[in-house]
């Protein structure tokens, strides 16, 4: 990851597209193919058959109906986190505290859901719990947001610190306060399967996926079609210009932080209410930081992020089984993601210098 401001790069405004679309697709597809080839070469060096590995991944995650459902289910929290990160990064804010926001929101909704279920019907319970999750996410972002807005304190440091505190606090809460006395391993009370988020059309995919897709689309529209979104883009691209133009920079910073953390909190709530039903102590999927490279691969574009999330989700679901079958470490998936980033940067660089040369000739 380079150190440049996240809000830089091509602006997401109307008037793009058309002839540039093919080039954009190529700029994404070429690195993907190169990363898969380079990853295959690494497998060859390890003495494994890359085609075996990729075949297993594909079969497990997409070709088999059960696997495909799992892949799509896995997308829901990733998409919500991505939506949250797009808002923050576009506004030039490095919200790297996603893990803490996600986990605390998950614990809050996991603790609340079984209690509320005793008095309320399923619909209101789920809605209230998702709202609670989002709210907890927002609250956990307030300290970094206010420090950034008021004193200009670097949010990379504060969000990461709050993330450590958040994951620890979540554990403490589960182990000391919110644990279910009927289980041996400390965990929150479990939400009954029939009280969880409704499944879609008799599949195992819960409706959180729809919510997540909707969130991504809404965020994309907000960034491209509204005055608020454009102000966030200006803030992200040039903070001095935002002050010069008379924006309420402090307020914008806090609001962007809140939307970002709220969506990430919502991701935590959806994951608990849709899949797990409870939170065990020491559970931390650490999705917050995993999604960061995906969002940059998609160049902070909401629609592109859906594709990348699907790709990554399939790798995660299929990668585990494939790694076991072929006999490579499970974290091999991360090697692929890293290669992908590397090639993306490389292709971007080559493309830029090609354009510069063309400009020279013109």
């Amino acid at each position: 990851m380079t150190a440049r401001e996240p809000g830089e790069g091509a602006a997401m405004t109307a008037g793009e597209g058309g002839a540039g679309a093919t080039a954009t697709v190529l700029r994404v597809l070429v690195p993907v193919v190169l990363a898969l080839i380079a990853g295959g070469l690494i497998l060859l060096v390890l003495g494994k058959d890359p085609l075996d590995y990729y075949g297993f991944v594909l079969q497990r995650s997409l070709l088999r109906w059960g696997g495909a459902q799992e892949t799509l289910t896995r997308m829901a929290p990733l998409l919500l986190i991505a939506a949250g990160l797009i808002v923050a990064f576009r506004a030039g804010i490095w919200n790297l505290g996603g893990d803490g926001q996600f986990l605390l929101a998950a614990v809050a909704s996991a603790a609340l859901a079984p209690v509320l279920s005793e008095v309320l019907p399923r619909g209101p319970v789920l809605i209230l719990c998702m709202m609670a999750g989002a709210l907890v996410g927002v609250l956990w972002s307030l300290i970094p947001a206010l420090l950034k807005a008021r004193y200009g304190i670097n949010e990379i440091i504060t969000t990461l610190m709050m993330s450590f505190l958040g994951t620890s606090l979540a554990n403490v809460l589960i182990k000391l306060v919110l644990y279910d006395p009927n289980t041996t391993v400390p965990q929150t009370r479990s939400l009954a399967v029939e009280d969880r988020l409704p499944r879609l059309f008799g599949t195992s995919i819960h409706c959180g996926l729809l919510l997540a897709v909707l969130a991504v689309i809404l965020v994309h529209l907000m960034m491209t079609r509204t005055a608020f979104g454009l102000k966030l883009q200006v803030l992200g691209a040039n903070r001095a210009a935002a002050i010069h133009a008379g924006f309420r920079v402090e307020r914008l910073t806090v609001v962007a932080f809140a939307i970002s953390a709220g969506l990430i909190g919502l991701a935590g709530a959806v994951e608990v209410l849709g899949v797990w039903g409870s939170v065990r102590a020491d559970w931390n999927p650490a999705l917050g930081l995993l999604v960061v490279p995906l969002v940059f691969l998609a160049r902070l574009n909401g629609y592109a992020v859906i594709g990348f999330t699907l790709f990554f989700s399939a790798l995660m679901v299929g990668g585990e089984t494939a790694a076991r079958r072929v006999g490579v470490p499970q974290h091999y998936v991360l090697v692929l993601v890293a290669l992908l980033l590397l090639f993306l940067a490389l292709v971007e660089y080559l493309d830029q210098s090609r354009r510069k040369r063309m400009a020279m000739k013109a």
Binding site: E8, G9, A10, A11, T13, A14, G15, E16, R225, T226, A227, F228, L230, K231, Q233, V234, A237, N238, A240, A241, I243, H244, A245, G246, F247, K356, A359, M360, A362
Partner: protein, 539 residues
Amino acid sequence: MATVAALRKVTKRFPGIVALDGVSLEFHAGEIHVLLGENGAGKSTLVGLLAGMQQPEEGEILIGGKPERIDSPRRSMDLGIGAVFQQILLVPSLTVIENLMLGGSWLRPLARAAALRRFTELSALLGVSLDPDARVSGMSLGEQQQVEIMRALWRGEKLLLLDEPTSMLTPQGVADLGRMMRRLREQGVALILITHKLLEAYEFGDRISVLRLGRVAGEIDPERLRTLSEAERTEAVIRMMFGEPAGEGEPAVEGEAPREGHAPREGHEKEVAILLGRKLHDAHAGNRSAPAILSVRDLSTTPDFTETALHEVSFDLWAGEVLGIAGVDGNGQKHLAEALAGQRPLRQGRITVAGTDVTQGRVPERRQCGIRYVTDDRLGEGTVGTLSVAINFLLKEIGAPPYWRHGIVDWDLIHRDAREKILRNDVRTPSEFTPIGKLSGGNIQKVLLARELDAEANVAILNKPTYGLDLQNQRLALDRIGAAAARGVAVIVISTDLDELLEISDRIGVMFQGRLAGIVDNDDAAPDKVRRLMTGAAA
């Protein structure tokens, strides 16, 4: 006379332009060689080539008669070439001697004793007395420039390049610099002085070369220069800058006697006036019978890290009047502009516009009252380089109807109107979608001027509106400012270029250490009064 450095048919291209086109020049020991030319004529590229920051594509550079490949600033310095740029490039938190030792090798320990010896040597050479252990941040701009010159000469003193060195100096500083240049000349150093002011060229130069559109348009050698009167010199230079192409053969210095003494070429009177720093003032004379439109009382701001804060600044401004703000850079001008525009909180004071107290208002409220601000930092603050020209036209109106309704954008309307504004203001851009950062400074300034000097403007603050523009665009900017004043806008122009202020202002105020040292009427005595105020003396 020995030729220290020479360019032979040097060509350098950048995307879209030929910066230098077959340029041949010679620089001699013990001579101050002035390079004149508009912005974009290729002066800076020439400096870049000699300083090792760029390499020529064709042709060669000879140093001491030998062809050299100057592929890095280090190589350039090793060859005895030093460059002093417009901006100060010292580390403010370090001392003089530390700054001078910075260029050394990575691994070798710092040799303070040796450095001090060289420092003493150069001090004697330049005739300056600086404390080697003084912190740079506490020094005046003139002293800082002396350190810059020392650093440029640190590893040898064959050739010294000075790129518009007087632009930020006080009159005293300019005089000191002139003394230093003459001393170096006596020591046999070849000096290249880049300027766009004719009078400076006459005062310091032994030889004058004019660059135009990347070519040498002509040269006046020392013998010739001595025999010409000032009027004749001007006539010759003007011809080279604007007149017939004098590329081939002898430059156009032979000549018919200048017509009517000073008469410049037809159609270029205004550019010539800027070059000569001659006054071209036609008073718009604000209407003093009506109450002042802008009234500022006891304005003070809180100091921050870089800029000087304001101390109890008070003045009145009438509609249709142009108030120039002179002063050496960094004496509170930036705070004054920002405080008036509403983007900087006030410590104390009161601002009223047309009788309405706007002290509490921020930028949107101030804009509502017709206050407009054109910043001097066009790309860093005035625009968002990655966003389109169309958006930058509306940067301060985001969310306002008719372009946004209930916060939802109407891109078609924005782009349609932007096309029209681009035509009306003659902005040279491929399209309204082009990121504004890709445009030239002059075109970006056209966008800013169009945005700020709109029909609803009452009070316009312009911070260095012509800074970094070529003559044509300087002219254009000043014309638009004049037109706005004629429309009845009260205008404040902040500039470090006194000649420019003398040209357009009705009154001139001087900032010194955060205070408004005084305001003088723009009459014949104004230049002297302003110069005195700039140094902190009473008018």
